[in-house]
């Protein structure tokens, strides 16, 4: 074999041998196949599915969640998690509401949303990396705290007095047909994809996820990376707050309730290992589209959204189980083959 490097004691394989078949075994291709399948089923069951306008409008349902899913993937790859994202949306939307009531203009409101998100993310990041607390409990705490603050400020009231100029971000179209939100998501997906897959930073993120201690010993500022990732999640949650507030035009403290688990579901479905160390941005993007298209298709068939959650939940468990079971069968077969070899010797 040419693709090996031999030392005195070990033979190190450079890379697994490339084959066309190996492409078909990647998570992304499995998801893509599912997506195509959903497309075919949907377009056969409803004549309204394959309509450019309908498809474009369907992206409104998931663009905000999808935008948060991107940095969430980075956080989960680095073995952390952020449960507080939906509460950050509530907090930022509340801050924007206060700003709008004080007569602040559109650019100011956007800055408030983003800055609020970054501040919330910094708070999470400080507790997790500065004090060394487990991310899941910290963000369960801030999940309660951030939305709690929104409740304290807004009570059972709502803010509905937003300037008309804000409407574009959540309701506007680019080229007259594609929602601005979706374009923004695609651009951000490219940015995050390049960051994770084509830069040193991305390689370091994987290194941290695979072995944080070894990563620290190789000189990677592990805690700084984790801190920045939390800030990024906060910032994207702030951005989602801007889009959502603009789209629905009102702020109540229960805005975006329950989104955190939907977003994490999308990320895990996208092939990001919840234990950290692996996952890709293309995978997350396909998973987001898959969930979005299933929701849209069900909607066209007048199936209530809540039934869709049964489907998404099962999809999550089944898609995660199958590779584990296949691997187990393969291991067993290999073991049997080895035993047979030993037997004949």
């Amino acid at each position: 074999m040419s693709a090996t490097r031999e030392t005195e004691r070990y033979t190190v394989a450079d890379k697994a041998k490339w084959s066309v078949w190996s492409i078909f075994q990647t998570w992304e291709v499995i998801l893509l196949t599912l997506l195509v399948f959903v497309f075919i089923v949907n377009s056969n069951t409803s004549p309204y599915f394959l309509n450019t306008y309908n498809l474009a409008d369907a992206t409104f349902n998931f663009s905000e969640k999808a935008i948060i899913a991107l940095p969430m993937a980075l956080v989960i790859i680095m073995r952390d998690i952020d449960i507080s994202v939906a509460s950050i949306i509530a907090l930022c939307s509340m801050l924007m509401g206060l700003g709008a009531e004080a007569g602040i203009g559109v650019p100011g409101l956007i800055m408030i949303g983003l800055a609020g998100g970054v501040a919330a993310g910094m708070f999470n990041g400080f507790l997790v990396t500065g004090l060394g607390l487990p991310a899941i409990v910290v963000t369960i705490g801030t999940f309660t705290l951030f939305r709690g603050i929104a409740y304290v400020v807004l009570g059972d009231g709502a803010v509905t007095t937003y300037p008309a100029g804000l409407r574009f971000f959540g309701q506007g179209y680019v080229f007259g047909i594609i929602p601005f939100e979706f374009i923004l998501f695609l651009l951000l997906a490219m940015v995050f994809g390049v960051l994770l897959h084509f830069t040193v930073i991305g390689r370091r993120i994987y290194a941290i996820g695979n072995n944080p201690i070894a990563a620290r010993f190789t000189g990677i500022a592990v805690n700084r990376y984790r801190f920045v990732a939390f800030c990024l999640v906060g910032m994207m949650a702030g951005l989602a707050a801007v889009l959502l507030t603009s789209r629905i035009g009102s702020t109540r403290p229960n805005i975006a309730l329950g989104w955190e688990l939907e977003i994490i579901t999308m990320v895990v479905l996208g092939g990001v290992n919840i234990l950290g160390g692996s996952g890709t941005i293309p995978g997350v993007v396909i998973a987001v589209l898959l969930v979005g298209m299933v929701t849209f298709g069900f909607g066209l068939l007048n199936i209530p959204g809540i039934i869709m959650t049964v489907f998404i939940g099962s999809l999550l468990i089944i898609t995660i189980s199958i590779p584990i079971l296949v691997q187990r069968l393969r291991d067993r077969a290999r073991l049997r083959a080895q035993q047979a070899e030993v037997g004949t010797d």
Partner: protein, 333 residues
């Protein structure tokens, strides 16, 4: 007891400190609003918190084994709806039949989690994230999105939790029965003790011969069963069942565990601690209206309390890590 002993008792162990804090809180509230300290009002707080206490105990078992169960609240909703529908179709059954079927339905849902966690080997957070959506969606499927209202439930179904026995409601009696059972299980059975071993060091637990898979399966099944029981109690107490019942409650339950000193990393936690943690949250919720503060403060205060508890947890665990168990302590505890 010297002053340093007292300090050690309060800092090293969560339960005395938390109990003291709760007593101080009750006294402070009592000074402002004396009627809060009456037997009636305090038993009201306990009754209100009963479901949270039982669910937190169930969640603790799961977290001890380094797992997490996000599906408990969805299980409550599903089982609650299932038994409510059962009571609608068969209103002549005795209460025991409803309770037993709630326990069984909850058990099946919990065993479903247990199968994927213990037998297939998927991380618990992924499994229960999936079943959280599934169970919640299935509530809608079995009910067709309809509510089951007070007038559709038989009287014995909805009266049971709040009927009194020796002056206290049945709901409280159920908690008073279930919680000591948890305590006995965790402290005086091999299976219960083995959960600490699994959470503390799974590899060592494997080497000493603990059947980890069987224990994990059992833990999720028990948690499901308790959630099922709470599903009946919830729908009966509030005399209504609908799809969004107990939505978001899974994180409140975990918060009660964290406040009670359970380590999310597994292996650390006690039943009294968890019960006190739940009680603390219940006290805050009940005290706000009494103090004349807006109930909208509840969530923000709970959040701050959780964060403080997390910081305290990590500090006490750090100290434990450095301390090598002294002989007298090892034999005493």
């Amino acid at each position: 007891m010297t002053a340093s002993d007292l300090r050690a008792l309060l800092t090293r162990r969560r339960e005395p400190a938390l109990a003291l804090l709760i007593v101080v809180l009750v006294v402070l509230i009592g000074i402002r609003a004396p009627f809060f300290v009456s037997i009636d009002s305090l038993s009201g707080v306990l009754t209100d918190t009963s479901i949270l206490m039982m669910l937190a105990c169930a969640e603790m078992l799961v977290i001890l084994t380094r797992g997490i169960d996000l599906s408990l609240a969805a299980n409550v909703a599903f089982t609650g709806m299932a038994v409510a529908l059962l009571s609608m179709s068969y209103p002549e059954l005795p209460v025991v039949a409803y309770i037993v079927s709630a326990l069984l339905i909850g058990l099946v849902l919990g065993a479903f989690n247990g199968f994927f966690v213990a037998i297939i080997g998927i991380p618990p957070i992924v499994v229960t994230l999936g079943t959280l959506s599934m169970f919640r969606g299935l509530v809608f499927v079995i009910s067709g999105g309809e509510w089951v209202n007070r007038h559709e439930m038989p009287d014995i179904y909805q009266m049971f939790p709040m009927e009194t026995f020796l002056g206290l409601p049945h709901l409280l009696w159920v908690a008073v029965t279930v919680i000591p059972m948890f305590w006995l299980f965790m402290n005086h059975t091999k299976a219960g003790r083995s959960l600490y071993a699994i959470g503390g060091n799974p590899q060592a637990a494997r080497y000493v011969g603990i059947p980890i898979e069987a224990r994990l399966f059992m833990v999720y099944a028990i948690a499901g069963m308790i959630a099922g029981l709470c599903g009946y109690l919830w729908t009966a107490r509030f005399a209504v069942a609908y799809t969004e019942i107990a939505i978001g409650f899974e994180l409140v339950v975990i918060a009660a565990c964290v406040i009670g000193g359970v380590s999310i990393a597994g292996g650390v936690g006690t039943i009294p601690g968890v019960v006190l943690g739940a009680l603390f949250l219940g006290l805050i919720a009940n005290a706000l209206p009494v103090m004349g503060w807006s109930p909208f403060w509840k969530q923000a205060i709970s959040g701050a309390v959780i964060l403080i508890a997390v910081v305290l947890n990590s500090r006490s665990h750090k100290r434990q890590g450095k301390l090598i168990v002294r002989r007298d302590e090892a034999t005493a505890s």
